[in-house]
């Protein structure tokens, strides 16, 4: 109890307190089994709601940011600065007719969007949003995330295959090639950090970065891994300059050409959420996740940093990375499929393999910053 009070005063805006109150409330009024069930349902609902809210916010932000890059204003009609535009779009998408495609493979066509969205919800659910704000803290968190996020490509392939549309088909095939290639790079660059932190559990990875982010702790190899992760993560989300599966100027809309209404909405939401997930994972693994900026020995400063709640730190870091991703997206032309695969197989993958080796050497020979300067950075 002593610890908890301390936590309350030192971290005033954390959500831990509320969560615990709810937990206590449920456990008083319900049997243990039911309480767990109710909590599960609550967490699920909360995650879904956050999922949708983040997607809507991201769509708005992306449109505004893109507009700024392009000397435009972006949405500005609905509400001040057009803030309600996403909501209006959502309502429109919800009430639109779902068009049945002749000669489409009905079942596959129907399930494809679910694959995509389920994959991204599964990944989303495992993210550590803040201190004690994680639905489940697997001991193989990184591995789990890689596994579920690669499910999405099945949905994209199905969508392209079942649409009975040549553009969709080409888009889906591109997506398959792209996703499988870049999954490799993303995996390797995360593994580099797993080597550095010695764990796959998110909570431990974050705890390990208390005084020194992995990005700096592993210096050169970590920075290369970070760069590669950003590139391959960007590619995995099918966003420009890697948006070949959609390739608006070539394939009209690629794999989701034939989708309408809510089904299209699923693809749309998951695209934005995937962007968030990639940014969130990068923030967690490389930039210390929800851990506020801490400097060893500066207790007052550290305490001040804790007044900013951990989830703000988390979203802030992820937001910064997302802004970077938008910046890249709206600056570069699209790659061609062979250039894309060249980039992966001739540049990123070899670099990654070497990098992994370098990281192993760095860790084994104690050249990480925490081990070189334990007084400054050691936990």
């Amino acid at each position: 109890m002593q610890l908890k009070t301390m936590l309350f005063y030192s971290h005033p805006l954390e959500l831990t307190r509320i969560l615990e109150a709810i937990d206590t409330f449920l456990r008083i009024h319900l049997s243990p089994g039911l309480a767990t069930l109710a909590e599960g349902i609550l967490v699920g609902l909360l995650l879904l709601a956050t999922y949708a809210m983040i997607a809507l916010a991201l769509i708005y932000i992306e449109r505004k940011v893109a507009a700024s890059f392009q000397a435009r204003l972006g949405p500005n009609r609905l509400g001040k600065y057009g803030v309600f535009q996403s909501f209006a779009d959502m309502i429109k998408i919800l009430i639109k007719e779902i068009i049945q495609i002749k000669k489409a493979d009905k079942l596959l066509f129907y399930v494809a969007p679910f694959f995509v969205i389920v994959a991204s919800v599964l990944a989303f659910g495992a993210l550590p949003f803040g201190m004690n704000l994680q639905a489940i803290d697997f001991n193989i968190g990184v591995f789990y995330l890689l596994a579920v996020s690669s499910l999405g490509v099945i949905g994209i392939l199905l969508a392209g295959w079942s649409s009975n549309n040549k553009y969709s088909m080409i888009g889906a095939m591109r997506s398959g090639a792209q996703f499988i290639s870049y999954e490799l790079s993303a995996g390797f660059s995360l593994m580099t950090i797993v080597v550095l932190s010695g764990t796959m559990q998110f909570s431990e990875i974050i705890e390990g970065q208390r005084y020194c982010w992995n990005l700096f702790n592993g210096h050169l190899p970590a920075m290369i891994a970070f760069l590669i992760y950003l590139i391959s993560g960007h590619a995995e989300t099918n966003r420009g300059p890697f948006d070949l599966p959609e390739a608006e100027s070539e394939l009209t809309a690629g794999y989701h050409t034939e989708y309408s209404g809510l089904q299209f909405g699923f693809f749309y939401l998951s695209e934005y959420l995937n962007m968030f997930i990639v940014a969130a994972v990068a923030a967690t693994v490389f930039l210390g996740g929800w851990m506020p900026l801490q400097i060893k020995g500066w207790e007052a400063f550290n305490q001040a940093m804790w007044f900013i709640p951990s989830w703000v730190w988390f979203f802030g870091k992820a937001g910064l990375l997302m802004f970077f991703s938008l910046w890249v997206r709206w600056s570069f032309p699209r790659l061609r499929i062979d250039l894309l695969l060249n980039l992966e197989w001739k540049y990123l993958l070899p670099a990654n393999l070497v990098n992994l080796l370098v990281m192993v050497v760095v860790v084994l020979s104690g050249l990480t910053l925490t081990e070189l300067f334990p007084a400054l950075f050691g936990n």
């Binding site: 392009q70 948006d243 499929i337």
Partner: protein, 543 residues
Amino acid sequence: MRDITHIIRQAAEDAQIEERQKLTVTVKPRQLHPVVEALYRNKELPFDYLVSLTGMDWGETLGVIYQFSSSADLTQEVVIMTATADREDPLLYSITDLYETAHLNEREVYALFGIRFINNPDMRRFLLNDQWKGFPFRKDYSHDTGLNPVTVISSEIVDVAPCIRETADGKLIEENNPVFDEEDYIVNIGPQHPSTHGVMHFRTSLDGEIVKKVDVHSGYIHRGIEKLCESMTYPQMLHLTDRLDYLSANINRHALCMCIEKAAEIEVPGRAQYIRTIMDELQRISSHLLAWACQCNDLGATTAFIYGMREREHVLDIFDKTCGGRLIVNQNVVGGIMFDIYPDFRKDVNVFIPYMRKRLKEYDDFFSHNPIALGRMKHIGYLSREDAISYGVTGPAGRASGWSCDVRKYKPYALYDRVEFNEVMRTEGDSYARYQNRLDEIAQSLHIIEQLIDNIPEGEVCAKTKPVIRLPQGQFFQSVETGKGEFGVFVESRGDKTPYRVKFRSPSLSAVSVMPLICRDAFLSDLIGIAGSMDFVIPDIDR
């Protein structure tokens, strides 16, 4: 010129050779191919550039007017006419074996005049659909709307190309050649597609992502402007030229005005010439800016698209203040210009020039050296010099293949002989060369404007013309350099206040006709990128 007459005489003794505005030769249908071939194979001055191929209905006879020029010297020109009296099944000989650009042009003539060309391997109708009844450009065409009712039922595209072949012993055989193999995986790029810059339709057969064959379908916005012109007086016709290549609206109109002025012997005041030249160059800048923007957009850089539009806006603002139109500027009239420049014109243009120069630098930083962009443009869509000439690809695209074809240099009009500018040339022949050519031409245009803007003389802006303009009997030609290439106007007059036949030589048609060649074995993505680099405008093709 004597050599040429000599060559023609050798190939066809009884050819009728006249010195009109251009050297005009009339030959019998049988002699056409030998004469053309002799000119084509002429060592010293090969007439290897088919400028235009114009179908004609002279009343009793149907025929074709060919306008040839030499790639080495564009000032050398020969016009060859041939005609057949058979109106039921008119047959002429094809010259597609010598000039690639003849393919689509002969198909167009077939669709509009019903003349079929022997030995043309693909005699489908171009611009019109297969079901069209009658030949609309003939003088005896029935305008009854019941003949070709508007239908909402879509008809399947039949990929079969009829053709008439002449065997060695002189017999004519009709054949049907399939356009695609049965196994081909055909994707329709267009007519509704974000990157065909209008309602263009490429039937593309793919092997994976690799383009095997492209078949060009066009005519979705064919308005028959040339036919419309036949019922309009010369001043009325002018407003239709703005609607061909709308990005070079002012330059097109300039061409028609000059053609009429030359024929009617109207002297254009000096002030008007200055303003025309400046406006043409501004128009070229806006056209190239849009081409740059669209090419970048086709490669996936949407931001560049908006940047191009942003700069183009400044040009359009100047247009809008000068003549009250932005896209369709309506500036040139017969005898001069409609509106004198507004008081701040000089100031605005002088502000624009350094602004645009700064932006060109920015474009370079932004896109020209981007490794992704280079990968998408370098060594892509290679067009050799020979092919550029054979397909009649002019403008920045032709000059990117090392063919010096700037009409402003060879046949200077307005003030181009008095200003100093470089013809931007490159020899790589790829998308990147075309891309750079456009940016460099913007710089050259700025340079031209700079020389003129502070020296505009005082005076009239429009010569006095008769209330009703009649051209003397004859054939009149005029070409200009638009943003896309050589734009030609041909007017045949019988002395009336309306023309007998008008033909516009469209640079975009050549640009699109070369697409099947330069896209072969490219990636699907590159097809789009190459189309962007060729910079064609559909209303210019469909006319």
